[in-house]
Symmetry: C2
Subunit: 335 residues, 2 copies
DNA sequence: CTGAAAGCGCTTACAG
DNA sequence: CTGAAAGCGCTTACAG
């Protein structure tokens, strides 16, 4: 069964397609008689007309589609972002196309390519390591784009940035005031700048301090996080850790790290204090309430859509960066 | 800067748009000279040509877009499904558009409408209560659609179904064999059939059994789950629960229920045994490993895409239902 | 108040 | 081996 078009409406209503188009789009200025209007709406209703946005897009050069590229949509952090973006996008009449890059620059590039072909009006992307060229290509084409969660050094694309370095530095200082014997930072072996920023913030805080404290840094790859962390934590914590602090620098690392503590029956905060980056539902099931750095996800997504919409509508070639901060939510996991 | 089109390529290469189209689409049958081909590819490269899929769609009646409607993309269950679908879709050349219905029939209808307008080739939907009409409309238009996770009674639309009733019945029986004094089923106050099926399975198992066991059913609304469950569990479990079993019938309910247990320091499984429906990362942080019903998510999404692709390509008006089962993963939370 | 016509960027049957 | 032309479903400046 062929879909009804405005041609069909025009034929049945005995008017021109132009008139149908004007009426359905409720354009002012063109004065169409009330009867004609009524007739057209009736016909549209009875033949079950659904406008074809793709045809409109071809004329308008606007698809009302937005592309979102994250590392992995099944990661709670990104699915929460996606949800916020969805709501914001819908308010402005946009629909979201979503893709996961798996931290793979080639896949990232393919998604960009695919979304361009689908003629999305703009993209919100969490760039992966090595995606400089893909982003620059978009910039050169003047394609509206906003980075989120991450940024690439030396690529001047508009984006929402969280001051990870400062947050890490500040929160580490808070740990340092507590007179722990040992502090362990759990991070990634990565080239992602926003994660390096966290490590640098941690390092800066440590070297500024004149405390006599043992410092250990654990770095894990992206695969097999749980196993790697469990092994490395076993070494770093030893059999019977005391007066130790653990800085878990992402939600994934937090879940992996905490699962080690729970398995090995290590008391939080009595023996090991914990500070995590990012929130996760999972904290609810841990015996001790977890202290964490809360990123301003809602603000991030609000600003991202705004910044993107601006570029789309103004054709303006901004390179604006919006820098946001995070809050430290102190709970019982720090003694 | 205007985007390059095949017209531009044709002009620069000194050939017709038809030829360009044939070459870029690598159509066989039309024999184009090697030089012409080479020239066209070169020009396309230098002017940075990106094909416009929307224009192609208009001719083809195929957008290669698939709509996915879930209750909430930020729910781990659905984001996992989304991720699986994304991967499967990509393999077949489709891109996913995602929307969250919030269990709201109006919003569901709006998303369907929106996706139709975007001319998605097909939809994968988790229908909400009261969405019968929306689904029937799609069916009448012969729109390719597959339901997932849920189904609506009396609406004969193709879908992937999990035999929730049987699973609940079977797993409840396993609990009943353990000679608990009391068993508490935590479910939703809902009209969603797949959730009612779970309750009915539970009920059936209880009434078949001739055990003398106290049974309590807790039903919570969709909002404020955590608070509601905590209150009701406080009543149902009392101060000092012993030899009790808890059936938590979804991942959200599991997190809410387990968080009550952890807060109140109730020993699992010594005092309260726990069986949950669905998996969640959060289990990793609970002191006792949780036994749960694992739904075959991968199989669900594989079959969903297959079933949808079939409808899209064959124009076949199937009403096929694929019924899958779940596995009970027994861990230490059941004594 | 309404319509004829051009055009958005493609594809494809047909002709040569 | 290649091109002219129609057409997908819309929008919109222009004419009347």
């Amino acid at each position: 069964m062929k879909k009804a078009s405005i041609k069909d409406i025009a034929r049945i209503a005995g008017v021109s397609v132009a008139t149908v188009s004007y009426v359905l789009n409720k354009k002012e200025g063109q004065r169409i008689s009330v009867e004609t209007k009524k007739k057209i709406f009736e016909v549209a209703e009875t033949i079950n007309y659904t406008p074809n946005r793709m045809a409109r897009s071809l004329k308008n050069n606007r698809t009302k589609l937005l592309g979102l590229i994250v590392a992995d949509i099944s990661n709670e952090f990104y699915s929460t972002i996606a949800r916020n973006l969805e709501d914001n996008a819908l308010k402005l009449g946009y629909t979201l196309i979503i893709g996961s890059s798996d931290e793979n620059a080639e896949k990232f590039e393919k998604l960009i390519e695919l979304f361009s072909q689908q003629q999305v009006d703009g993209m919100i992307v969490a760039p992966v390591a090595g995606s400089e060229d893909s982003l620059l290509k978009l910039l050169n084409k003047n394609y509206p784009v906003v980075t989120i969660d991450r940024y690439l050094k030396g690529v001047n694309v508009p984006g929402i940035i969280v001051n990870n370095r400062e947050i890490a530095e500040r929160t580490t200082s808070i740990l340092l005031e507590k007179d722990f014997d040992k502090i362990i930072y759990v991070g990634y072996d990565t080239k992602l700048q926003h994660l390096l920023d966290r490590q640098q913030g941690f390092d800066a805080s440590i070297s500024e301090s004149n405390k006599n404290i043992a410092v250990e840094r654990i770095k894990v790859g992206l695969d097999n996080i749980t196993e790697e962390i469990h092994n490395q934590l076993a070494n770093a914590l030893g059999q019977n850790p005391k007066n130790t602090a653990l800085y878990l620098s992402s939600n994934k690392l937090a879940v992996a790290g905490l699962s080690y503590l729970i398995k090995n029956n290590i008391k939080v905060p009595q023996d090991v204090s914990v500070l995590a980056f990012d929130e996760t539902e999972a904290y609810k099931l841990f015996p001790t309430e977890i202290s964490y750095v809360k990123q301003p996800l809602e603000q991030m997504t609000d600003e991202a859509i705004k910044l993107l919409d601006l570029q789309i509508n103004e054709y303006s070639n901004t390179s604006k960066k919006i820098i946001l901060s995070g809050d430290l939510i102190i709970k019982k996991s720090i003694k």
